[in-house]
């Protein structure tokens, strides 16, 4: 998995690409989100446009990060999901849990 971190205003944007699968990106994703939370960011946008595959472990880390952000008074939103990643969230009904956007500007504006 490859990652790129940037900030737009007070939004921390974590762009991921490659695989988010067990032993290959799942833990790294959680650590990147936690680093943002530890640094005091309360608006974290996970940009997944380059993610080619995710497994139940990657999804699990994403759910754990969502809960962790919420418990710390922060928000975690998702943007640019491929159709297949969207399907994977859909079948487990996690699409109803996450705030998902197709456009980065729209996602940034949606942070309260």
């Amino acid at each position: 998995m490859k990652q790129q971190i940037r900030d737009i205003g007070d939004v921390r944007i974590i762009s991921l690409s490659g695989k988010i699968t067990i032993g290959s990106g799942d833990v790294m994703m959680r650590e990147l989100i936690n680093e943002g939370l530890d640094a005091g960011y309360t608006k974290i946008l996970l940009e997944l446009g380059g993610v080619s595959a995710i497994d139940s472990s990657g999804i699990g880390e994403m759910v754990a990060s969502y809960t962790s952000a919420k418990n710390r008074g922060a928000q975690l939103k998702l943007v640019n999901l491929s159709r297949k990643i969207n399907d994977i969230l859909q079948v487990t009904q996690l699409i109803t849990v996450f705030d998902v956007y197709s456009d980065q500007d729209e996602a940034i504006k949606a942070f309260a």
Partner: protein
Amino acid sequence: MRATLSLESRFESIEVAERALIDLCVEGGVGADEEYWILTALREAIANAIRHGHRGKTQESVRVEFRIQGEKVFITVVDQGNGFDPTVIPDPRDAENLLKPCGRGIFYMRRFMDEVEFRSGPGGGTIVTMTRKVTPRSIKE
């Protein structure tokens, strides 16, 4: 067309199995979408064998068999663990499970394959067999 692999019980082995299955799917003319979902199910089955079956014992091995016959892909994953009862797997879509960080692997396997069966091996461990009907690329396109 078939392939048999004996893999070290490490997560890095999943990549090896993926590459072998991709080669077989390409050779068998399996469409890209179907290949994607079959790979997803394969990843989950091997990850379960390593994590839950062998529980970190890297000296154990995971045996994987792939076969494409007619318009069906057959996958078998065998571990040497203690086995488990697949009938007591909770539904990850239930409200009380929705935000749990684990418990979705078998659900994905069942969702993305037509048939998934778990049984105990003769000497212990778990044998997972999965099948999916595929539309060959040559027919699809």
